[in-house]
């Protein structure tokens, strides 16, 4: 039963689409600080690559979402799957693609 409710929870979050406003704030904070630790506060890159819109241009959504969720082998990019859903990652990606950072 516990498993079923967990499954149900996972399914509902997966179908929920865009994260709640509260979750969006958490994700932005995560992006700023934790992604920023390697990709820079301005996201122009550091130990990690640049995450500015022009750097992501031409790279397919699913490729970048799976990079966020599963990490990238042979690099320092860790899998964020334990900490976020597919929808979270998709939202982060659209945020990165459309937002011009300071």
């Amino acid at each position: 039963m516990k498993k079923l409710s967990l499954l149900l929870w996972v399914t509902t979050t997966a179908c929920a689409g865009e994260p709640s406003l509260e979750r969006q704030t958490t994700l932005r904070n995560l992006l700023n600080h934790d992604c920023g630790a390697c990709h820079g506060l301005t996201l122009k890159g550091g130990l990690g690559t640049s995450l500015l819109p022009e750097a992501l241009e031409g790279k397919p959504d699913e490729f970048l979402i799976s990079t966020i969720l599963e990490g990238r082998k042979g690099t320092a990019m860790p899998p964020w799957q334990p900490l976020m859903t597919h929808d979270d990652a998709a939202w982060l990606l659209s945020f990165l693609r459309t937002t011009s950072h300071k």
Partner: protein, 387 residues
């Protein structure tokens, strides 16, 4: 009227008398998001001044002049700022690269070296006027340039650093700044992520991210080359995700032991300094980031990567046991000890606080407000090799 004048003169002279400030118990707290540096006093637990507009300080570090009057702040955006701790003001500020990670001050205090990601290499400046005195690009392979990490000063007016992408360690001798002598050690291992020099200046060690083990260079005998230590450590264990690169600054050296963060494991490694074998491991709550010894090395304080970064754990070196787990606040990013270690200042970024602890009782003494603090650096670093 005369009386008023006399009073005024007296008042003014008192003012001048009150003005001189000693700098041996000062420090800098970095406010990440706003790009500010707070000048603080560790004896009075006071904020003395705020220096603003220092650029991107998301990964800032600070070194101090040997007279402890100036702090040099290295920003992520390549900014290098010299701050006058007596005047609460910027003495000079330059943008020396596009993307940088840290810096060091030379043995004689006359040179400031900065390690850069873009364009990769180190640049060396006069500590007096921040004029460029040497530029050493980190060229490797087929015209590539590597990101530079783990830059430290070493005895003999040298700087030592690691090339993240190239897997090399370089030693630069700057006795003559016009003709720097660079000695390169290739194939030291994959992705060195940071380096440290032991407090006696004897060994440089680079931590490896891309493969197990550490790269060790004996600076008393650099011709013997770089040797791999702990090559088998964690080889067969599943590597846990690392959400923040560990640091090796302030690596704890206590007696025969060196304490270091394990990469991809929630453990602190205890390495025997005589044999360079693993003596023990200590299980901790998360991926260790800073593993720092109290100045007397009786305790080792450990903070952690996201998502365990609200914790701080204290190891008792006497029996290698975990003495206590503290929760100072959200996102504990950095700490520094007072010169002789009776107190430690801890940056809790997401709580906008600096928390000060008594290291003996492990009780909180007080808190100071700071906006998203991510780095704490005391002027006592001025006289320590490698800091």
């Amino acid at each position: 009227m005369n009386k008023t004048l006399a009073f005024l003169a007296l008042f003014l002279s008192f003012n001048t008398l009150a003005d001189p400030r000693a700098t041996g118990d000062l420090g800098i707290v970095i406010e990440r998001e706003d790009g500010n540096a707070l000048i603080i006093n560790t004896t009075d637990h006071k904020r003395l001044a705020k220096i603003e507009k220092l650029g991107d300080l998301s990964h800032a570090s600070v070194v101090f002049s040997r007279d402890q009057r100036y702090a040099y702040i290295f920003g992520r955006d390549g900014g290098l700022t010299k701050i006058d701790l007596l005047k609460d003001a910027i003495d000079k500020r330059i943008i020396q690269a596009g993307n940088s990670i840290g810096g060091a001050i030379s043995q004689d205090g006359k040179l400031i070296a900065v390690s850069n990601y873009t364009p990769g290499g180190i640049k060396v400046f006069s500590s007096d006027n921040l004029e460029l005195v040497a530029d050493i690009p980190s060229d490797y392979g087929d015209g590539q340039r590597s990101k530079v990490v783990g830059l430290v000063d070493a005895p003999g007016q040298r700087f030592v650093f690691s090339l993240f992408d190239a897997g090399e360690i370089w030693v630069v001798d700057l006795k003559n700044t016009k003709t720097p002598i660079v000695k390169k050690f290739p194939n030291i291992g994959k992705q060195p992520y940071d380096g440290l020099i032991t407090p006696d200046g004897h060994f440089y060690i680079a931590g490896l991210f891309g493969e197990p083990g550490l790269a060790l260079l004996n600076l008393w005998n650099i011709d013997s080359g770089v040797k791999r230590i702990l090559p088998d450590y964690g080889k067969d264990d599943e590597k846990l995700p690392v959400y923040k690169m560990p640091h090796l600054e302030g690596w704890a050296v206590a007696g025969d032991y060196i304490f270091a963060p394990a990469v991809g494991q929630h453990k602190v490694m205890v390495i025997n300094k005589n044999t360079w074998d693993l003596h023990d491991t200590i299980a901790v709550v998360g991926q260790p980031v800073f593993v720092m010894a109290r100045p007397d090395a009786r305790q080792v304080w450990v903070n952690f990567a996201f998502p365990d970064n609200n914790h701080l754990q204290i190891i008792d070196v006497k029996d290698l046991s975990l003495r206590k787990t503290l929760t100072p606040g959200k996102a504990v990013l950095h700490m520094d000890f007072t010169p002789r270690g009776e107190q430690v200042w801890v940056a809790a970024r997401d709580d906008n606080q600096v928390v000060i602890y008594d290291t003996e009782s492990l009780q909180e003494i007080t808190r100071l407000p700071a906006k998203q603090p991510n780095g704490i650096f005391f002027s006592s670093r001025a006289h320590k090799i490698g800091l």
